[in-house]
Amino acid sequence: MNIHEYQAKALFEKFGVPVPKGAAATSLESFKTTLATLPEGATMVKSQIHAGGRGKGTFTNGFKGGVKFCKTKAEAEETAGKMLGNTLVTAQTGPAGRKVQTIYFTVASTIKKEYYLAILLDRATSKPVIVASTEGGVEIEKVAHDTPEKLFKIVIDPAFGLAEYQIRELIFKLGFDATESKNAAKLIRNLYKFYWETDSSMVEINPLITTPEGEVLALDAKVSFDDNALFRHPEIVALRDLNEEDSKEIEASKYSLSYIALDGSIACLVNGAGLAMSTMDIIKHFGGEPANFLDVGGGASKDQVVAAFKIIVGDPNVKGILVNIFGGIMDCNVIATGIVEAVKEVGLKLPLVVRLEGNNVAAGKATLAKSGLTIVSGDSMADAAKKIVKLVSA
């Protein structure tokens, strides 16, 4: 689960990770009162959406930049008015962009130097890792590729936590002066505490900055949490912003369906994540484009299939559906009956190819054939994929 920058920074403050003073507003009317909580002077105006590349983004109304520096609060108020309620397109949002529903105002800090700091899981060691660099405010992938010697990694033993000597090692490598070092140590210590205690899957500060006064501040904050651990963090679940999520994906999650919308025209409905991914791949292999990833899990009950069909037909790009079920334990005939009922209930008009395999498959195929519906049967994944691609392009 992702949260907004302003929410992440509020959590940072709770954990003792210093951030520039700021305040968020969700309506034009509240801009003045929100800005009144900040000191007069240079102010940053930051669009709050769950996507990166905001500064270089463009609004669909032509306004350029989702993050702006303003010399005065009055200018900040005017600038925010051009962002709120408008759609921001960035490199990460896709062409549809995201509607900006919250503006975050912060005091504009004087930057002495920018750094990069992140904590995430190191999959190779199954341990948390701190990644830091003296090159902040730029794409970290580029730093890793061009100047790997400027990227530092500290792997943390989960049994002992982050050790003081590791913090010192990092600080020496980043080259902070005496005052900065003291502040940076505290920030790193507290950021790790935040990462560990909140079940974060990733915390990224880019840039982390020093000021001429020796302060060390998180100028930006990107945080995501482990979905599997949300059950023990109701305070984090409360920060979920449904405006930032695809409505079809929200609907799918109500039926324990794992759904991700894509751009193609052939929808698929599959049991199992690996099989679902490879069903998308095989559609592409035979010349089609998958419209989604959809895993119905182990069961594939009638209710789930109905819900899945409804979500699929809600996507106007979809021209055909491929159902691929390996009913290992589940009776294929039960699944087939569910598919037939679902097609009738939804009133499905689109071409439908079903590939069923596994337990009691002959009876399942017979049920599909007897249904009186135009359901095309596929014998293997390859056969089914070829058939749906042909039907959709016909």
Partner: protein, 307 residues
Amino acid sequence: MAILISSETKILIQGITGDFGGRHAKLSLDYGTQVVAGVTPGKGGQFFDHAGKKVPIFNSVADAKKATGATVSAIFVPPPFAADAILECVDAGLDLAVAITEGIPIKDMVRVKRAMQGKSTRLIGPNCPGLVTPGTGEGSNGGCRIGIAPGYIHKKGHVGVVSRSGTLTYEAVFQLTTLGIGQSTSVGIGGDPVNGTSHLDIVKMFNDDPDTHGIIMIGEIGGTAEVEAARWLKANCKKPVAGFIAGATAPAGRRMGHAGAIIGGAEDTAESKIAVFKECGIEVAITPSDMADALIRAAKARGVTLS
């Protein structure tokens, strides 16, 4: 022979009195697997009845091991308690803990993995279908089935299958069996980013197992575990190997069902993994329908008999 488990293996099931665990305990008993104990704290002394068999239930893994000689556990307990269940197996000194549970917090697994360092217990999973060593009976009955895989699609033989994904494992096994080619053991290692046993661990075992003549290795986007295994195979394995990587069409930054199936960097993509497979002499299945055929091609090229 096979790897990790055989028809002699005695297993216990943690969470046998739950709906999910109970259902699969019955299927394992039907398959002829030696399910000798169940563990549900507070229900010690009761029995799990199925088809004339009475499986004793114990309060702890240690008690169950002591009374029955079970060496392997299948874990079906809910996510908030699953890490604890794994540690209980480690403490009781079981040979193998197989965590079927989906949705265990990653931090819990990070801690479990650290706690297992230097211990004798091996973990498979979590979020995995488990493993099957097929038997000689009808529909491979009489084998050892741990977890949730369909037993009957297997056939006793000489191909080792390893995969992160359950249904893709079944797909590969089914293709092999349909072509009359049996399996030594099929292993689902699970779709989470932190798991107990890697592709590399399993292919090493298949390489050492004289009964395994060929290997199908199935992977996904995310992480670099398949790449590590492929490089090892190139240097150490003479047996024919076929590979498949799911997720060529997956967009970056989106988690594809499995917590571990997410493209984070350049090395995580299907494209880069497939390139390494090819470079390491692994016969790549062009589509998921091609997995068994790919292994047959690899076996022919090396003059190896699979069945």
